[in-house]
Symmetry: C2
Subunit: 365 residues, 2 copies
C-alpha cells in the first residue's frame, strides 16, 4: 500500500473496495479455535474462503492442525507461504495435476481425496515412479450429491482397491455435508447433520473392522461445525466462512460469528429520489447466493444494475443521499465475492491498517 | 506461456480453462467493423467484455475510432497499452478518481460522462487548477433506469450548467439502452431501440438548437447495434460482447456473430450413471445470467455444484463418460465470466497458439 493511505478512515477508502474488519476476523478465528481447543475433534479450516496465507497462519497459530484447500493452485500458494499440512478437498485428476500434487508433497504433507478407482490408480502409479506415497482420503457422499462414493459397501470396495495401490497411503475418509450448511433451523440442521455423520462414521467403523487403519475422518463447514464437531468418530472439521461470514449465513440461526467482510461502495448517480446508483455490480459482488445486505441504511434494498453498478432502492424519497456518499454492503456469499477481488482493505477500529493481496484469488486449477 | 504448451490440442489444455477461439473472435471483429466501415456511425467498442489490450488494438486496426471502458482502471490499462482515444462510460466521482482522469488525459483523449451538476463541477474545478479541459458527455437515461439524466429539459439544463464550467469541454451525449440488448424478438428490439434513439437524438437536436455543439452521440450494444447504427444522428456505437458472444446472446434472434469463448472443464467424479461432476463452478463461470450451455453433449444440462464444481445432468445413464473426460461450456455471460479469469488460452484451429493475460481483469475502481 502507499504510505499516505495508512490510517485513512473507512470513508476515505477508494471504492469499490473489499473491506476486511481484521479485528472481527481475529475474534472469529479465536472463537472457533476455542470451541475445539480440547479436542478430540480438531480444526483444519478451509482457506478457499479467504484465499490468504496470513489468515491461514493466524488459524494455525490459534490451534488448527492444518488447512483445507479446494484446488491445487490454492495449495501451491499456501505451501509456498510455509503451510506444512494441507488437505486438497477436491479430486485431483490428470497427469499434470498429479505431477503438481507429487511436487507439493516434497515440501509439505498434502493429502488428496479419491472417489474413483482408475483415478486413484493414476495417482498411485505416478507416486510409485517417484518413490512416494501420497496421503489419501476416500471421498464419501454423505448426502450432498456432488463428489464421493456412497457410504458402506461402495466405500469399502474403494478402500480395498486403494489399499493395494503402493503409491497411496490411505489415511482416512472425507464426507462433506455441504447441502446442510445453510439449513436455517438449528434443530433440523443438527438432526440432518448427525444423520450424515452417522453414515460417515459407520462407514469408518466398517472399514476399520475390515482391517484398515483410518486416522482422519474429515467433514463439516461453518453451518454444521457445532454438530459435526461433537460427533464421536469425527476427527477434523473444515469450516471456512466463519472467519468473515456473509449475509446468506446471517439468516442461518444459531451461529454467533461476526460479519468481518463488507464492500464499500460510492453513490455515482442520484437522479431519481428513491434510487441511488452505486459503483458495485456483478464484477464486485457475487450474485450466486442472492442480494448483498446494506449496512446502516434503514429498509433500503440492493438490486444489481449490471456488471459495474448496483441500485439502492428506497421506500421513501431520500433527498439527503447524494453523489459521493459511501455505504457498506455485506456480500451474500463470501467465497465468491472475495474471489472477485485482488486485495483486502484491512481495517481496524475504522481505520485502514494495511492492504493484503488475496494471493490465491483465481487459482481455479 | 511455457513453450511445451504451444501447439497443444484443445483436449490437452489444463482445466478449468477460459478458451478463446481467436480466429472466430477475429472474424467477429471484422464483421462488425465492415458493417460500419462506410459511416456515418462509427464504432467505439466496449472493452469491459474482453479486458485485453491486444483485442482492443485489433478492433482499432479494423476501423474503430476509439474504445469504451467501464472504469478508470480499465482505461489506465488500455492507455498504458497505447490506446489514444477512450470513453469511460461510467460516472467518475471523487477527488482521487478525478485526479486519475486528469492524469490519463495527459497521455490520451479520455472522455468522461456526467449526470450530476455537482459532480461535473468537481471535475471542472480540478481540471481548471491543472489548466486542462476534460472532454465530457452528458449521460442520458434512455429507458434503462440506471445512470443518466432524463432526456429533454433536464438534459438541456445540465448542458447549460456544464457549458459554464471552464474545466469541461462538452463534446456530446451518451444514452445506453442496456435494457434492450437481450430482447429476443428482433422486431420488438428494433422498435424499442428506435424509440430510445429518438429520445436521444431529439435531445441532441434540442441542445444544438440552444446553441451548443455536440460532436458525439454515443449509444448501443451488441443486441441493438443494427438499429442504433442506422439511426440518423447517432455517431458512435459501444458494442462489446460481439467479439466472443455467450449463451445468453445465443437466444437473442437476429445476431450472427460466432461463439468464440468457452470454458474447458474436466470430469473429476462420475459415481452416478446420470451425473458427471466437473471442475468448473461459481469461481470459473458467472451465474448472473443463468446456466452455461454444454457443447457437443446432446441434451445434457449444466447445474452449478458450488464454488468449484459443476454438474452435467444426463437424461439417460452415460456409462461412456468417465473421470478425465473434457467438455466445453459456453458461458452464459461473457463479461462476468472473463472477469473471473487471469488468462485466455488462445486457440486457433483447435491448437493452443498463445496465453494472453486478461490485463484489465478485476479493475473495478
Amino acid at each position: 500500500m502507499r504510505e499516505w493511505m495508512r490510517g485513512q478512515n473507512l470513508q476515505e477508502i477508494e471504492t469499490p473496495a473489499l473491506v476486511l474488519d481484521v479485528a472481527a476476523a481475529e475474534r472469529n478465528i479465536r472463537k472457533m479455535a476455542e470451541l475445539f481447543a480440547g479436542g478430540p475433534t480438531r480444526l483444519r479450516p478451509h482457506v478457499k474462503t479467504h484465499k490468504t496465507p496470513l489468515l491461514a497462519h493466524k488459524q494455525l497459530a490459534a490451534g488448527a492442525i492444518g488447512i483445507t484447500c479446494a484446488k491445487l493452485g490454492e495449495a501451491e500458494v499456501m505451501v509456498a507461504a510455509g503451510v506444512r499440512d494441507v488437505l486438497v478437498s477436491s479430486e485431483v485428476v490428470g497427469a499434470r495435476k498429479i505431477a503438481r500434487l507429487l511436487a507439493l508433497n516434497r515440501h509439505a504433507r498434502v493429502i488428496t481425496v479419491v472417489d474413483d478407482g482408475n483415478a486413484a490408480r493414476e495417482i498411485s502409479e505416478a507416486a510409485e515412479r517417484e518413490g512416494m506415497r501420497i496421503p489419501t482420503l476416500i471421498d464419501l457422499d454423505v448426502g450432498q450429491g456432488r463428489t464421493g462414493v456412497a457410504p458402506g459397501e461402495p466405500a469399502l470396495a474403494l478402500v480395498q482397491a486403494a489399499a493395494r495401490m503402493p503409491g497411496l497411503q490411505l489415511v482416512g475418509l472425507q464426507g462433506y455435508e455441504g447441502h446442510l450448511q445453510h439449513v436455517v433451523d438449528p434443530d433440523e440442521r443438527g438432526e440432518r447433520c448427525r444423520a450424515a455423520m452417522k453414515a460417515l462414521t459407520d462407514t469408518a467403523t466398517m472399514i476399520r473392522e475390515a482391517g484398515h487403519e483410518l486416522d482422519i475422518v474429515s467433514t463439516s463447514g461453518t453451518g454444521t461445525h457445532a454438530y459435526a464437531g461433537g460427533y464421536p468418530g469425527v476427527t477434523e472439521l473444515q469450516p471456512g466462512s466463519y472467519v468473515v461470514m456473509d449475509s446468506q449465513y446471517a439468516s442461518v440461526k444459531g451461529l454467533s460469528f461476526e460479519h468481518a467482510l463488507t464492500v464499500l461502495t460510492t453513490v455515482v448517480s442520484k437522479v431519481k429520489p428513491d434510487v441511488a446508483i452505486v459503483d458495485a455490480g456483478y464484477k464486485t459482488l457475487s450474485s450466486d447466493s442472492g442480494m448483498p445486505a446494506i449496512r446502516n441504511l434503514g429498509d433500503a434494498r440492493f438490486a444489481f444494475g449490471g456488471d459495474e453498478h448496483g441500485k439502492l432502492l428506497f421506500e421513501q424519497p431520500r433527498g439527503d443521499i447524494r453523489v459521493g456518499d459511501k455505504f457498506e454492503l455485506v456480500p451474500s456469499h463470501c467465497d465468491t465475492t472475495i474471489n472477485l477481488h485482488d486485495i483486502y482493505y484491512v481495517v481496524r477500529d475504522g481505520r485502514l491498517e494495511d492492504i493484503w493481496p488475496i494471493a490465491a484469488r483465481g487459482k481455479i486449477q
